[in-house]
């Protein structure tokens, strides 16, 4: 433990020592390229003692490898250091076998030292998979489970769990989060099966349902991630498993002596996929077009009128400057007239004349934003204990100036075999997250222009509005400069457990998992900020504490009779969540606000104090039976009964059963003929029901929101009276959303693992959907939370793993996955009566929910809108007018050709869900020491909203291009009569509401990495077990027709960050 402490200190130094170490190694070790020592071989025929070490392809020792003498009965097992000693005849052959590795034979040839590197078996059939409340060999699985091994991704420096999942798991759609935190990517397994409740999968960390934040888990601590996709696998988590389950397992101790690993990397976040923000001169040209557009593209009222907003020095020869000035009777300096016609403010004119332009792209973006990530871990396994301890520090700068995210994370996994029958352990993690940075106001960047000034006339104070357009824009740096913020999380999550062996094949496990989250969110807006000067300082303070706990009691029973294997698991679980949230707000600080947020009591006005405390409780009983006969016929059945307080009024509990079968056909006698090429073929089928409880804790209750309102007595005394009003309709009958799904699939392995993979097909029907059903506003509520309707997801997932080339100095492996999901709303609110024009009942039919945009028989994400048929051209002006539009506006399709736009003209344009997705991953190993990989993933066929194509909207809001700036995208003009982009300031309103959608299909080269493993001989000389250097590029490229920011992240303008690509340099060192 002394050593641990020492390491702790090292890491607390924010890893500066590690950085220097990295530099030394990076330069020094290159000299160490030397030939591999050759062993001389002499032919003798005598028994000798051979010693050696067995390692994996990355030089890590492998414990437990069986070393056998071919043709003899002698076997030994390698120890924790991978070492072995065996007696063998000098011309004998040693056979090395180990689970998960290809068997290797080595001729002794009188060599006394034989070091062997085993190759990992490509076929993952022998992998141990985590299945929830236990593990299984992949060979014994009956359900659809995908496993991701963290070691495969080591060279890619995943910064979050989302990064590890993205592009590596068919059927799992991982969203994109371009923020510095990078971990709020949405996760969705097998399509969206719910309308209102959360569709995020359940996260299970080291066997315990994890209620915390994914960003609190250091990716470096992760050993494997298993994704339970079909209902039967997920059903052990019953009511919480409807959206699939992601099981994360962290590392455990291995190796006999302590293994210390440093993983350090430094990266640069760089701008990618960002449209150009118009610079000063481009903006003036754009402004001219904008104002011309506001004048209705007038080119007829006077000769040369269309040049009215053209730079007078760029007039065509046929039109003189004098005539140009005369257009509105102007006199004097033509440039000045022009700038005034372009409605420039005095400051903008002055800066134009002084040639002082603000380059906003340089001012706001940080194109070499530094990211560094350091993790140190120490792990060890001994006979009666094992531990893994790590500390990590990550600091990430964002692409916009001042955006930083920092986190310190530490983890301890400790397990001790207290006696032959009892193991106790603890898994514990702590994370500190610092999200204090105040982002720039990106929306203000486009609202101002390049011709403003950053500072006021005194040259030091930030100018309130760079171009003196107060009220329209504020200096984008204003809030960042005048805000003092502390926004920190300190989160603890742990599990203490006990495992006991009982007689007759029973074993018992009890977990207790507490979680504490502490949030402090303090904010002080300085009285010096001129935009709020009258308020003399504003302080907000929020403290939130969350304490939740779970307790699992698991009883297992294992028995094997001949060819029958039976395993039974029983669970009793209870949980409680409690949170306490206190907020305070104050303004007008006296005598001043110099104490920042530390003295909220000095506020003399606007004092608001509020609290929001919540509690919820749950429990569960679960039983699971696994049976197999001769590893050929497999059967699993589970049932889980869940309780949750949100449904506590009438339906507190529900039961979720499942059953699954599998048949390993290749084990059958009649398959003997295929044995040569077919290693493995297992057919699976499962049915199961799962629940979804992810609604608000009090969603079923009528919540009276309270507030205050001023009254004045007849004596003139003002007082705050309270107000109460119901915020929602209660629904005491609310119950669980329920999935019923079938899964059919098979796993295969061909040609000794050269080709392997699986195919799965599923049909998942969700009933009793938790729906915020739209109500006619006459009710006084816009919706009520009810259980109604039915959504179906059908899909297919195909995985193919291939070993393309396997030579001594070159191996190439490919993983390919492709999946598609079809989502359909089968039912919504049931049939309702239909009336004819006279009010007579003519039948019943089920109606769409147009308020929520849900349509029966369509995808949840279907787009039902007016189709953009192009842009109204000058020649169509008269027709355009009858529809309420003018040339340059988008032309909507009048599908029924009745001459007016009504909702009858809406049509289904597609869906925002992809039609299909795929990923391809290629891994190469060259000269034994170089690992190269690249990963592609793609989403094809989805629509995204693109209201910016109207050249009149930005992030869905209307903008003023006679006052502001914009990104460079095409626009229509009478002389550029394009059909896919409207004119500047085109009409986005009109008789009907509509939006622009474009296909946002893409293929992303999400990761490229090259790693060099230092040859062990050289490493040894430097007293290092293993060393690896790697370079990788995250988001190296994206191939798409989408032009506005990134196809997965188009909100780079609304305060969110544009998408970065990141170049990382890393070092992984094992001592």
């Amino acid at each position: 433990m002394k050593q641990t402490k020492k390491i702790a200190k090292t890491s607390m130094l924010r890893c500066f020592t590690m950085l220097s170490f990295f530099t030394i190694l990076a330069t020094g070790s290159l000299e160490a390229f030397a030939g591999v020592a050759k062993t001389s071989a002499a032919l003798m025929m005598a028994p000798i003692t051979v010693t050696g070490k067995v390692t994996d392809s990355r030089n890590a020792p492998i414990e437990g490898v069986t070393v056998a003498v071919k043709g003899a009965k002698t076997t030994v097992i390698t120890d924790a250091k991978g070492a072995f000693t065996i007696n063998v005849s000098d011309n004998g052959t040693l056979v090395f076998t180990s689970v998960g590795f290809l068997t290797k034979e080595v001729a002794v040839k009188n060599t006394k030292l034989i070091n062997v590197a085993l190759t990992e078996q490509v076929s993952s059939l022998t992998d141990v998979v985590v299945v929830g409340y236990g593990t299984q060999s992949k060979k014994d699985l009956t359900g659809a489970v995908t496993q991701i091994k963290a070691t495969q991704l080591e060279n890619e420096n995943p910064r979050s769990v989302g990064d590890m999942l993205r592009g590596n798991a068919p059927g799992l759609d991982v969203g994109f989060d371009a923020s510095t935190k990078g971990s709020n990517a949405s996760l969705q397994v097998r399509g969206k099966g719910t309308l209102t409740a959360s569709s995020s999968p359940l996260i299970v960390l080291d066997g315990v349902i994890y209620p915390g934040a994914l960003e609190d888990i250091n990716p470096n601590d992760i050993a494997t991630i298993d994704i339970l996709k079909d209902a039967s696998s997920a059903a052990v988590f019953g009511a919480r498993s409807a959206n699939g389950v992601i099981l994360i397992s962290t590392k455990k101790g291995k190796g006999g002596k302590p293994i210390i690993t440093f993983n350090d990397n430094i990266g640069y976040n760089k701008l990618a996929n960002k449209p150009h923000l118009l610079d000063g001169n481009e903006m003036l040209e754009f402004r001219g077009e904008a104002i011309w557009s506001m004048m209705g593209y007038d080119s007829t009222s006077k000769a040369g009128i269309k040049y009215k907003f053209t730079n007078p020095s760029k007039l065509p020869a046929s039109f003189s400057q004098a005539d140009w000035l005369a257009l509105d009777g102007a006199t004097g300096d033509a440039t000045l007239v022009w700038l005034n016609r372009l409605r420039l403010k005095p400051i903008e004119i002055a800066n134009y004349q002084a040639k002082k332009m603000l380059d906003w792209e340089k001012i706001i973006y940080n194109d070499n934003a530094l990211q560094h990530d350091h993790t140190i871990s120490i792990a060890q396994r001994k006979d009666d204990y094992n531990y893994y301890f790590s500390m990590g520090y990550l600091s990430n700068e964002g692409l916009t100036v001042g955006d930083t995210y920092k986190t310190f994370r530490t983890r301890l996994n400790l397990e001790s075999t207290a006696s032959k029958y009892l193991t106790i352990g603890v898994n514990f993690q702590f994370a500190n997250r610092d999200e204090s940075s105040v982002p720039l106001s990106m929306s203000d960047v486009t609202r101002t222009t390049p011709w403003g000034s950053m500072y006021a006339d005194d040259g030091v104070t930030l100018r309130v509005s760079p171009n003196d357009d107060n009220g329209n824009n504020t200096n984008p740096f204003m809030e960042q400069f005048y805000t003092d913020r502390r926004y920190q999380y300190n989160n603890l999550f742990g599990t203490v457990y006990l495992k006991g062996k009982l007689p007759f094949g029973f074993s018992y496990q009890a977990n207790f998992s507490p979680r504490y989250d502490f949030l402090t969110e303090f904010n002080h807006q300085s009285a010096l900020n001129p935009t709020i000067a009258a308020k003399k300082g504003i302080v907000d303070r929020r403290n939130q504490t969350v304490y939740s706990w779970q307790s699992d009691n698991i009883l297992r029973w294992n028995q094997k009779y001949n060819k029958h294997t039976v395993e039974a698991t029983f669970l009793f679980n209870a949980e409680k969540y409690q949170s306490w949230n206190t907020k305070s707000h104050a303004e007008n600080f006296a005598p001043n606000d110099n104490l920042s947020y530390h003295s909220v009591q000095s506020g003399t006005a606007g004092v608001v104090v509020s609290s929001d405390d919540q509690v919820s409780t749950g429990d569960a009983l679960m039983g699971r039976l696994n049976y197999n006969y001769d590893q050929r016929y497999f059967f699993t059945a589970t049932t889980r009964r869940d309780g949750y307080s949100a449904f506590g009024q009438q339906n507190p509990r529900a039961t979720f059963p499942s059953v699954a079968l599998a048949w390993a056909i290749n084990e059958e006698k009649f398959m003997k003929s295929t044995e040569k090429w077919l290693d493995y073929l297992k057919i699976r089928a499962s049915y199961g029901e799962n629940g979804n409880r992810e609604i608000g804790r009090y969603a079923a209750l009528s919540n009276l929101s309270s507030g205050s309102y001023v009254f004045v007595t007849s004596g003139g005394v003002m007082y705050n009276g309270s107000t109460v009003q119901a915020a929602n309709l209660s629904n005491p009958n609310l119950k669980w959303e329920r999935n019923a799904s079938f899964n059919y699939g098979f796993d295969y392995s061909i040609l000794k693992g050269k080709i392997s993979g699986s195919v799965d097909m599923y049909d998942r029907v969700t009933k009793d959907l938790l729906v915020n059903r739209s109500l006619p506003s006459v009710v006084g509520f816009s919706s009520i939370l009810v259980n109604l309707g039915e959504v179906e997801n059908k899909g297919t997932e195909i995985t193919i793993n291939t070993v393309n080339i396997e030579k001594k100095n070159f191996t190439w492996k490919t993983t390919f996955g492709i999946w598609w999901n079809k989502n359909t709303i089968n039912h919504l609110y049931g049939a309702t009566p239909d009336y004819d024009a006279t009010g007579k009942l003519i039948g019943n039919s089920e109606k769409d929910d147009l308020t929520n945009n849900w349509y029966i028989g369509k995808d949840i994400n279907a787009i039902y809108n007016y189709k953009i048929a192009g842009v109204w051209q000058i020649s169509e002006a008269a027709t355009a007018k009858t529809y309420g539009y003018k040339p340059g506006d988008f032309k909507l399709e009048d599908t029924n050709k009745d001459g007016v736009y009504t909702i009858a003209d809406k049509q289904f344009l597609g869906s925002t869900s992809p039609k299909y997705s795929f990923n391809i991953r290629n891994d190469f190993r060259v000269f034994k020491n170089f690992d190269i990989s690249f990963t592609l993933y793609a989403k094809i066929g989805q629509l995204s909203s693109f209201s910016e194509a109207t050249n009149s909207q930005l992030n869905g809001g209307v903008v003023f291009y006679d006052r502001s700036n914009f990104y460079k995208i095409p626009y229509w003009t009478p002389t550029n009569p394009i059909n896919d982009y409207a004119g500047i300031l085109s009409n986005v309103g009109g008789p009907v509401s509509w939006n622009v959608y474009r296909l946002s299909s893409f293929v992303r080269l999400s990761n490229m990495s090259v790693a060099y493993n230092l040859p062990q001989e050289i490493a040894r000389k430097h007293k290092i077990e293993a060393a690896k250097f790697y370079i990788n590029v995250v988001n190296a490229n994206v191939f798409t027709n989408w032009i506005y920011f990134d196809p997965e992240n188009k909100n780079g303008t609304s305060g969110g960050a544009p998408t970065p690509y990141t170049i990382n340099f890393g070092l992984n060192l094992t001592l």
Binding site: S419, N553, S714, V724, A726, V779, D962, V988, V992
Partner: protein, 618 residues
């Protein structure tokens, strides 16, 4: 063995931890920080808080950016939407006011806001009305008062709904399930029921309550409006006289309040100071909504720090916009910065001319220069020529216009390119609400009048006019006029509804919901068949194709009349059927078990079922 015993002990402990949770009520929901109707609407305090929520709900109409009252004003003779640098603002009603168009957005219009918010108001009142009879802890006397006050709020919203949208559904009790089978009820049936409710209220609600709460005067005032709407003119006279004669409320004629000592100011100025509206000395107020800076219940307090009335931003002309106003030498005369040497932005506010008055409102109706409501010498009314060129850049450039009064022309040269938005006079005495949240000012927090006695007089005057009792009408109008120091009218000057509508426009700018009142009057013309000032007569059968509302707009609102085209190339246009607003499409579609009728003139009206003659019993 020892170990085993220990182990079993440990196991037992863990089991205990797990089992401790398994009490019977383990899964009972336990809301810690929220109230429920069951434990709140049980005593007087609970119902009083419920009524306070109703009052707060009414406040929303007057406040914030793109305040709904703008839409009431732009569908009338007094104003149009002046935003002319983007598409969206409701200017061409023919193209933009459709059931499926954007109907609830400050940048477009707030028709949908009225529809939603009024139903919320009705729901809040219905909850109280349905639960009061069951509240055993409330005395019968208190029950009657609370019920009367709740009736006021419900009637207030139904009065508005029936004059904005015509025939609408009419739920009268708390709805606690997913009801989707509403049917449209005839306007008069609903109003008749509201009349009965208010006749109950005026028996029990006290004459004097705290300002912000409902008193008997407000109930009578609303009753007078509803009686007018039903064409019951005698009843309207009775109701308004009840308030006028009671003595609790009096027209304010003398100086009072915060600026009383400033000799250059006057009673009209005093009446509209934010600090004076709820004073005891202000005997004119029947019902107001409250909004105080720094109070937790202020309008959208603490979310962005930029809320409050924002009235200066909405209704003051755009005297800071772009280069709209230039000096005779052609330099930009304005700036958007506050805190300048000539601090226009913090005196008049950063107006954007969204609610742009018509010449009818700021010019045509003013017939007496002594009228304090149109007086610029005391600073009550502002003309652009009272504003000075204030851009500091003029000073540095040596432009002599700096500090001089703005002019519209230099010779024949127009000095304001956008007169729609940036050049019109405005009532500073009403719009000036000092703003601590914004620099430049946009209009800060202030109480706002909903009903005051001056309007009660004008309601009674209107009733007399319908009854052709012009002498009595003249007397009532003169009470309002002479307070503002305008000369009294002679009976010969009060000959038609014009007299009342003009006086309302003079007295109640940015207080009255003008569209509601015009539609109400259009209904009366159609109902009574009386000849309008234009000589025309109307009937209910052709209400959506021939009505007084449209004819008056064509007569008084020059922008709609001339199809004025804005700088953004949008045309002002309005039609007969706009006398009633469209029912938002979502409400019709969401009501899948029944039919909510669409108003004639809008798509979907062909599917209407006959409106009910009776309010359905739930």
């Amino acid at each position: 063995m020892k170990n085993n015993i220990k182990n079993i002990g440990l196991l037992a402990c863990l089991f205990l931890v797990a089992a401790s949770g398994c009490k019977k009520d383990w899964l009972t929901p336990n809301p810690l920080s929220i109230y429920s109707p069951e434990n709140t609407f049980v005593d007087k305090a609970g119902f009083t808080s419920g009524l306070a929520a109703c009052a707060k709900n009414i406040r929303e109409e007057y406040f914030g950016d793109g305040a709904p009252l703008i839409t009431e004003s732009t569908f009338s003779d007094i104003a149009v939407e002046g935003t002319d640098d983007k598409s969206g603002p409701a200017q061409n009603m023919d193209m933009q006011i459709k059931p499926d168009a954007q109907l609830n957005n400050p940048d477009f219009n707030r028709i949908g806001w009225y529809w939603d918010q009024e139903w919320i108001g009705i729901r809040l009142a219905n909850t109280i009305i349905s639960r009061i009879p069951k509240a055993t802890a409330v005395s019968d006397a208190d029950k009657n008062i609370l019920l009367g006050q709740a009736y006021f709020f419900r009637a207030f919203d139904y009065y508005r709904l029936t004059n904005q949208f015509g025939d609408v559904p009419c739920p009268l009790s708390e709805i606690s399930s997913a009801k989707v089978d509403f049917a449209t009820v005839k306007r008069d049936v609903i109003l008749t029921r509201m009349k009965q409710d208010l006749e109950f209220a005026v028996q029990y609600v006290p004459w004097l309550t705290d300002k912000g709460a409902v008193n008997r005067g407000a109930c009578y005032h609303l009753l007078a409006k509803i009686n007018l709407a039903l064409g019951l003119f005698d009843d309207a006279i009775t109701a308004s006289s009840a308030v006028i004669n009671n003595g609790t409320f009096k027209i304010v004629t003398g100086r009072f309040g915060v600026d009383a000592s400033i000799a250059t100011k006057n009673v009209t100025w005093d009446l509209h100071r934010p600090d004076n509206k709820a004073l005891a000395a202000n005997t004119e107020v029947l019902f107001l909504v409250t909004d105080r800076a720094g109070s937790a219940g202020s309008f959208l307090y603490g979310t962005t720090g930029t809320q409050g009335t924002r009235i200066m931003r909405q209704a003051v002309p755009g005297i800071s916009i772009a280069s709209n106003i230039i000096t005779p030498s052609g330099k930009v005369g304005i700036s958007a910065s506050g805190g300048l040497e000539i601090d226009i932005m913090n005196l008049y506010g950063r107006g954007i001319g969204r609610c742009r008055s018509t010449p009818y409102e700021y010019k045509d109706i003013w017939d007496d220069t002594k009228d304090l409501r149109h007086d610029s010498t005391s600073g009550n009314y502002m003309f652009m020529e009272n504003v000075r060129y204030y851009s500091p850049a003029l000073k540095t450039a040596g432009d002599t216009a700096y500090g001089l009064r703005m002019r519209l022309y230099a010779g024949t040269k127009l000095l304001c390119v956008d007169t729609l938005r940036s050049w019109y006079p405005w009532p500073h005495y009403k719009l000036y609400v000092p703003d601590l949240d914004n620099n430049p000012m946009q209009g800060g927090h202030s109480d706002w009048y909903v009903f005051r006695l001056a309007e009660t007089y004008l309601l009674r005057a209107e009733a007399y006019i319908w009854k052709k009792d012009f002498a009595s009408a003249t007397a009532d109008i003169n009470v309002v006029r002479t307070r503002a120091k305008a000369s009294a009218y002679t009976t010969s000057q009060v000959t038609s509804i014009d007299a009342v509508l003009d006086e309302r426009a003079r007295e109640l700018y940015w207080e009255e919901a003008r569209k509601t009142e015009l539609t109400r009057i259009a209904y009366i013309f159609a109902k009574t068949g009386q000849a309008a000032p234009n000589g025309k007569t109307y009937n209910l059968a052709s209400f959506s194709t021939n009505n007084y509302f449209y004819d008056r707009l064509m007569d008084k609102n020059i922008f709609y009349k001339t199809n004025f085209v804005t700088l953004h190339n949008d045309m002002f246009k309005i039609s007969q059927y706009h006398v009633l607003w469209p029912i938002p499409q979502a409400a019709i579609l969401g009501n899948s078990g029944g039919r909510i009728n669409q108003n004639i003139g809008y798509s979907g009206a062909e599917l209407n079922a006959p409106a009910l003659d009776k309010i359905p019993v739930e």
